[in-house]
Symmetry: C2
Subunit: 265 residues, 2 copies
Amino acid sequence: MSITLQTALPSVAARLAIRRGDHRGPTAGLAAGYVQGNLAILPASHAADFLKFCVLNPQSCPVLAVSEPGQTALPTLGQDIDIRTDVPGYRVFRDGELVAEPEQIDAFWRDDLVTFVIGCSFSFEEALLQNAVPIRHIEQGRNVPMYRTSIPTHPAGPFHGPLVVSMRPMRPAQAIRAIQVTSRFPAVHGAPVHLGDPALIGIADLTRPDYGDPVEIREHEIPVFWACGVTPQSVIATTKPPFCITHAPGKMLITDLLNAHLAAL
Amino acid sequence: MSITLQTALPSVAARLAIRRGDHRGPTAGLAAGYVQGNLAILPASHAADFLKFCVLNPQSCPVLAVSEPGQTALPTLGQDIDIRTDVPGYRVFRDGELVAEPEQIDAFWRDDLVTFVIGCSFSFEEALLQNAVPIRHIEQGRNVPMYRTSIPTHPAGPFHGPLVVSMRPMRPAQAIRAIQVTSRFPAVHGAPVHLGDPALIGIADLTRPDYGDPVEIREHEIPVFWACGVTPQSVIATTKPPFCITHAPGKMLITDLLNAHLAAL
């Protein structure tokens, strides 16, 4: 009976489809209303420093869950999650180098691996759309443009590097509303970190994002910048830990949490 | 005993000093922490339309209190208020023309006059300063610069005219914080209505405000614009009612309400 109830959840159905191999694409649009998270899996030897890094940089690295070493379930995020199979695609790094892009990570699993799930802007984008704030990259069917900035993160152990931001162009009144709406979501990046002149945070050219795709900025629009969950991946790439697994870009972990439940207000 | 308690309130002490004629200057800085309000006194014949105007334009005209015709007390705003004597200076208008600038309005009082007290940005400025958001016109010892915009108000009866905004320059990250802080104060103008390019709201030259004083805008700062309680005065000037009394600029009604109590969150 409880299995029937679980399967009825769109998030559980989506994870099962992914586990079966029926869905291998990006997760945007799947299980609408449910929280999706960024994935970072590190050896226990690096987990304490990485957790400290996340705690020191909560706006870019909001931790939704952290596992015990070797634990493949994430009961606080969803029933019956198996982190080795429930994401559509993974990236495996050794000493900072990409060595595999598997669809499952059973073959790479180790008893010392600690899983971090980090909040993602998908959650607040749903709230922005509900508040009539347009999101250009969704309108244009692209990935959000992301940029490395001149804003440093707070280092912890070997982990250090610049803050990565996502950018959404909008009119000033929409930016004001977007600040109000996203301030309600401290667990998924919260309010913007900057708006207006990109040069002030070290971005030379908005048409050349470091990650994702460029989007159109229309007349009378200003760019608005949020701390981005790609920051920890960027920092891991800089730090080159001996072993690491992340999700493949756009292929997130779908949880049973509701975006609406992340709203502080 | 209750009189002793009342006199002990800084707001009551300030009003009594004003009533006695011991204070005739602007009220900025008096009774720190207490709400100050804009004053508009109109004949009952115009009061219903003006109230409707305020209700239709709550961001610029947040009504803190409205009296019965002829009533000189405002018990919801403070004990023992006499609106004829408790403001340091008044302006009396007939058919839209300034006919007197008295220190008290006993001689002008009529049984059909309805008093409106409208929220003022002093309340949220205290919160901004407490949140380390600098306020340039306070730093420079000037009045806040205010501008008529191309944004129309919602008309009601004879009352119509453009939105007036106040402007505070700040850095983008401070603007984001200022939006969060002032969003908590819907009773005193709330969040900004605009930021960035002034031309988008019909302001041609920030160095030439329509009311108040110009302030310095430093490198990397953007102008942030809030709906302003001068809007109703501007609208009354446009509408030219047969009779009207307002406070003299900067000489507000000090109430017994605490700014902190206006915070929605």
